[in-house]
Symmetry: D2
Subunit: 469 residues, 4 copies
Amino acid sequence: MKTLIKDGTVVSASDSFVADVWIDGDKIVGMTHPSARATMPVGPDVTQIDAKGQYVIPGGIDCHTHMSLPFGGTTASDDFDTGTVAAAHGGTTTIVDFAIQSKGSSMRAGLDAWHAKAEGKAAIDYGFHMIMTEANPQTLAEMADMVREGVTSFKMFMAYPGVFLVDDQQIFRAMLRAGELGALITMHAEIGLPIDVLVQRALSEGHTAPVYHALTRPEVAEATGTERAIALAEMAKVPVYMVHLSAQRALARVMEARDRGLPTYAETCPQYLFLTEDHLRGEPGNEWKGAGYVATPPLRPKHHHDHLWRGLQNYDLQVVATDHCPFCMKDQKELGRGDFSKIPNGMPGVETRLHLLWEGVTMGKISMNRFVEITSTAPAKIFGMYGKKGTLAIGADADVVVWDPKKSKRLDQANLHMNVDYSPYEGHTVPGSPSHVLSRGEVVVKDDVWVAKAKQGRGQFLRRGTFGL
Amino acid sequence: MKTLIKDGTVVSASDSFVADVWIDGDKIVGMTHPSARATMPVGPDVTQIDAKGQYVIPGGIDCHTHMSLPFGGTTASDDFDTGTVAAAHGGTTTIVDFAIQSKGSSMRAGLDAWHAKAEGKAAIDYGFHMIMTEANPQTLAEMADMVREGVTSFKMFMAYPGVFLVDDQQIFRAMLRAGELGALITMHAEIGLPIDVLVQRALSEGHTAPVYHALTRPEVAEATGTERAIALAEMAKVPVYMVHLSAQRALARVMEARDRGLPTYAETCPQYLFLTEDHLRGEPGNEWKGAGYVATPPLRPKHHHDHLWRGLQNYDLQVVATDHCPFCMKDQKELGRGDFSKIPNGMPGVETRLHLLWEGVTMGKISMNRFVEITSTAPAKIFGMYGKKGTLAIGADADVVVWDPKKSKRLDQANLHMNVDYSPYEGHTVPGSPSHVLSRGEVVVKDDVWVAKAKQGRGQFLRRGTFGL
Amino acid sequence: MKTLIKDGTVVSASDSFVADVWIDGDKIVGMTHPSARATMPVGPDVTQIDAKGQYVIPGGIDCHTHMSLPFGGTTASDDFDTGTVAAAHGGTTTIVDFAIQSKGSSMRAGLDAWHAKAEGKAAIDYGFHMIMTEANPQTLAEMADMVREGVTSFKMFMAYPGVFLVDDQQIFRAMLRAGELGALITMHAEIGLPIDVLVQRALSEGHTAPVYHALTRPEVAEATGTERAIALAEMAKVPVYMVHLSAQRALARVMEARDRGLPTYAETCPQYLFLTEDHLRGEPGNEWKGAGYVATPPLRPKHHHDHLWRGLQNYDLQVVATDHCPFCMKDQKELGRGDFSKIPNGMPGVETRLHLLWEGVTMGKISMNRFVEITSTAPAKIFGMYGKKGTLAIGADADVVVWDPKKSKRLDQANLHMNVDYSPYEGHTVPGSPSHVLSRGEVVVKDDVWVAKAKQGRGQFLRRGTFGL
Amino acid sequence: MKTLIKDGTVVSASDSFVADVWIDGDKIVGMTHPSARATMPVGPDVTQIDAKGQYVIPGGIDCHTHMSLPFGGTTASDDFDTGTVAAAHGGTTTIVDFAIQSKGSSMRAGLDAWHAKAEGKAAIDYGFHMIMTEANPQTLAEMADMVREGVTSFKMFMAYPGVFLVDDQQIFRAMLRAGELGALITMHAEIGLPIDVLVQRALSEGHTAPVYHALTRPEVAEATGTERAIALAEMAKVPVYMVHLSAQRALARVMEARDRGLPTYAETCPQYLFLTEDHLRGEPGNEWKGAGYVATPPLRPKHHHDHLWRGLQNYDLQVVATDHCPFCMKDQKELGRGDFSKIPNGMPGVETRLHLLWEGVTMGKISMNRFVEITSTAPAKIFGMYGKKGTLAIGADADVVVWDPKKSKRLDQANLHMNVDYSPYEGHTVPGSPSHVLSRGEVVVKDDVWVAKAKQGRGQFLRRGTFGL
């Protein structure tokens, strides 16, 4: 199977130029000047894609998804089938999902469970991080096994006491071990212990509406958690990566660490760049609508947007992932009617990430190169996938998106493929959309339609290498 | 009993002027121009002190002492008798010591125990803070009782897991309660959980010498603890006070909080201004000598001194207290021979604080006014003693020191009165010394000799008011 | 002439206590406990003032006034007569005005001219700073003469090209010379050269209204000027003092300098704490009204207020002076109708400073002690008047204000004594007002009425000492 | 002329992959997987270069050179012939030199003069910046002409009073005009006016040795100049670019500006990354040797190195250029014997830049990608050359370096090609060296030998586009 993408503008994290891109099987094998076609006839075995006036970019990598995550008595509504198909429609060709080491259980059991969820279901390639809910001698020992299995990053939580929360000593021990293994600790850096007191107080005062999710999780709780994660990593002499950074002051902590030369990294998510705390307030007469915007950390007031965009511009933030974790309004979000703390935490996002960030390009917030870097190249480098994924390099997997800037898309639930009954961006039309999405050399989505023969199970597990920066 | 202190230079936290100071009974009743004596004959019932060429200052307040503290299988070697007598010799006329609510026990029991230690023993006035080792419903409820008893400040620890350490939720609950009561939470802000891992690792690697006390408690552990305390206080909307701040980066966190308008306060101690990590290294061939310098937080490298002095100059640090907690080299410090983690933590200091800080005045580090403020006026205001203590105000307790800048003192163990078998400042001669120390109108120490009739038990318990700033 | 101020609460920069204050002639000679009066009969020669329930504070020092200043083709409307009488009504008993060394002329000539303006006119004591419009060999040499004459501070301008502006080399030479003399350089730190371009551009675009005074002098122009002054002082190894600091970012530069240990000082003015850029916009249909608010630096948007108050709380700002420089709306401000750049720059303020800052005390912005410090004690120390002025010390000049917190005052032009036809605070009622104002032991104003026999010429020239911090 | 570079590792600012690079004429026309050669026979007309185990990178761009610069009574010893040949030997295939608008003369005259210097001489491609020594109506008007001629960046000086220095108003006017034209103002940001006073004082005190060049140009003079340039650019709402940034505190100003979202850019030079103030001290008994290290800004103490490297890592510094401006020790530097201020300012560097920075790669200071970015891609983007120069893009000029990491080079004067009689790095051996240097498709240097037929005059003038970020 050979493919030629003709006349497009190839965009990498640093470069932009017009070229033909040649694919042979599942790999990129050449980039040539269009004029070269004059002397180099294209055989009939070659599928040709006309990319003139379009951008040819590496497929997106979403390094933060939660397919089929059990949470708060229900389960995230996208599984590895629906979720990865939706991802592909949005131009994302790789995800990294979170397996869970449950309290009292092993990492191995967690990994097995996640393999079982993904195998035979995923339509695009996928890797796993491992959530550590305990850093005890057994789990610390298992970290090496996981690295050998290609699960080279571990997530820990300062939030969710009783469920995910680990104390400073466990974090520190895991960091020391990760340092020995070349693995990376990633952190949910809100401090949940005082947050829980605020939640209880709010409920006891009769505050039950969705917006209290935000009002009981103030910015300072994330800022100080971020500082703490950085300090522990500094003590352990290891890198650290903040997931879903949402707030100005948390970013400021990352910036001061980086300015001191510490290997500190952070991702943000589209919801923190485009939505605000006001969405959590719902509408006059329907404050419950805010439930669709309950995710953690909470959406923040609007002034945070500028800081996060600037962080992306200035390399203080490295990645935009989604924290994709959808729950339907019906039956699922409804678990929290009358008690905001029972609303399942999470929003859909895996399909709309590139669309929203491309809007950022058209708004002048980031360059096209930076768009490619934060959606694909940087997560590939940080999470040990670079070379194979994350860029249109000769020899790399042909995960390619042909992005048509002349298309546009209305981000309504009806236009999207995620298995959830609402869209946080209902009514919002964004410029740009993929004309073709290729996964390992195969066009899987064309003009928003799945065209590959295979679907469920065509995705492969990615054994990732260790931290690459 | 009337006393006239003649012709001295009265120094307050803001002013300096030559005046006669009149004392009637235990109170200051007047300050007049020396020329006024011409028309106002001094009766024979008035004891006259000639203070010409000397400074008349308020008696020192040491708001951080640990008399008879049980620690690490032994007990601090000064009790309320020896410790307060030593304090008075050094110009300190009030101490605030730490009672302890022990795990599983009540604050009331802790307070009773400390009253029992002090009553009939203390030679100068004293108050109590309360150490909270648990913030549970009972202890949270007892906080109000303590405030009524004049114990208006509570200390919590992020260090010493298993002994004193409380988690963020306990700190936060105590802060919320303190806010309701007008009480103040003070914090030992080193994070002990990862420190313990470093200690275990050092010991397992065969590092047993005293200097490892410092090497396993890095600056970042205090800096991040300080940041955490500030963040929790910000969430709880209450003031917070750091005890014994030792390090540049911890100070930087206090500074950024104050610059943001948060009511953040901090004390440092003379050992962090005059001694360094090198003292912990002992001497060639006698690294054990460093045990005499084991206190927590540890002594820091020399460059921290400049930052702490600047903090004092610029009002970023408010108080210099001592953390007086002496252990004899013999029998006590020796518990840690072969295992630095077993060396009792603490150093003597209650007697030498004013001497050392006066040296700071002569070095140009701080003004005389600032000397008075950080040793007496500021702790009085912060800890609810102002009006009665902390300044030479009309109507205030006549706790007065006549400080002779022409005297000098060698800070050898043999010249000091603390019940401990070494001096951290052996061989160091400082300029200035008190000629007279008055406690509530009575000269108790004259030219370094105890002259008051009473001694043990003449000190009174101070019911302190709530946080005064 | 003896005076006894009875039962008041004496407030200094650090202390507050109830005491009787005794004055003999022009000096404060004693402070005693009210109970002492029982045994110490007050003779009939003693004027008694009942201060019960009132505060007894040092008379205000306004270290930034411009009486009879020639500016923009007119002259400030208060002279040393009307201006000092107004000051006294407001509780200010000392001013420091600015003499001018004019281009091509000598400092001596400038000083003689200002003495001529003040002698026989001033009702309260006064000193002079010297404005340097050139730092050439002659004026640099004259600096020593000025210091000998008690003019120990020199002001230079980065603004007003062609009139006052001096370049970096002149500033630097003057700083080096000031360092040798112990004198202080004070700085108007807006950079006028680019501002003039903005002004010309605005006018050329037809923008003539008063608010363009603010829009052409952006915050950054003051922030960078402040940074420049600090850098030059750092190079010259001398202290520096910013006059009339108005903006957050300028303050931030002062803070970072102080945090680095540099001897950097700054004053702000009430107008920057209470008025905003909106006042410059005038009213709908009457934008000209904004002319009454044209002063330099310009009034800033409201969010600056919080930063400046915090600067005062945290000792980052040391002084509040007024930059008193009134021009009547009629005939004077009108010079700028149709061209905002021709509006004489300046506002009245010498009479209302203490009233406005007391309102800050009642708003919880600053403590009473800090109120005293920033209005009196700090300028006395910085500008070499301490000991004689600036505090209620034994032996000091009896410049005393008895401040009645139960009074209030509406700051209308009709209620004030400054020689100007409007009040920037018209309609604004503030709590508190002086019941008695004493200048060198003599009650000059009682209940807002001048009661001293003498008036014009009773003020004395103050030979100031060199920089006192 | 066709060329195939085989089996090398192509390194761009973001990517690294093994590929064959195809060149046709002067352009890059393809990159293909080496395995593709199996099915795609290479014709005999193709010159093949074996790059196995080597890196294939874009030719260096040195955007800061001064060929034949008249300075201090002499002329920089490299002209466009010797200088560009040396550049090519070091892997640099493009330079941007500085034409000068002399006082009283026009930009046109300056540009003509520089064209005359370069035409028929330069061996590699070159562009020009224009130094503005006056911003008067004529020169401001000429800026548009220059932009049309492809001279799209203008340099101004805060240093060198009487020669190059312009005041804030001129800078500001030039910035406003540049903003209208899309041109870029670059700044020498040391403030020369106070520096001149320090120089005169040092000389008058008998300090004549080369090291006084550094001691009279303190870090703060550059830091404040940098802040000033940023503030003026902020007022003018334009980007600004600092040339030859040398010091930590200047970098801190750039960082704070970027953190605030201002378009602020800066270059540093290898001498500030590898040499220190100590080099200016010469050797014991031969302090004159320091003259060879006199450049402006001066070399700084060693601790600055870490900050500058971190600035490069973190994108706070964008470019490393050389400020190449050599003067021979003999006859030229000697002009300053006995008066350091007469030593011609400048050092050789155009040939050794890539070698030294590659050493930075091997030291772990920067990645290979970042090496490519700061030496080639970033200057191409900033200075309007991207697309044609600065990256190995399809369609770009085939300015290519094959860099052999197994080679090494001793940076002795005898091994280098610059026309100067010493090397600042004498005796220093660095890893890595180019095996082939191609300029527009032609191998010009092979194994350190010039191999192209043409030499003088083969370089072409580059009309640059406007500011590209």
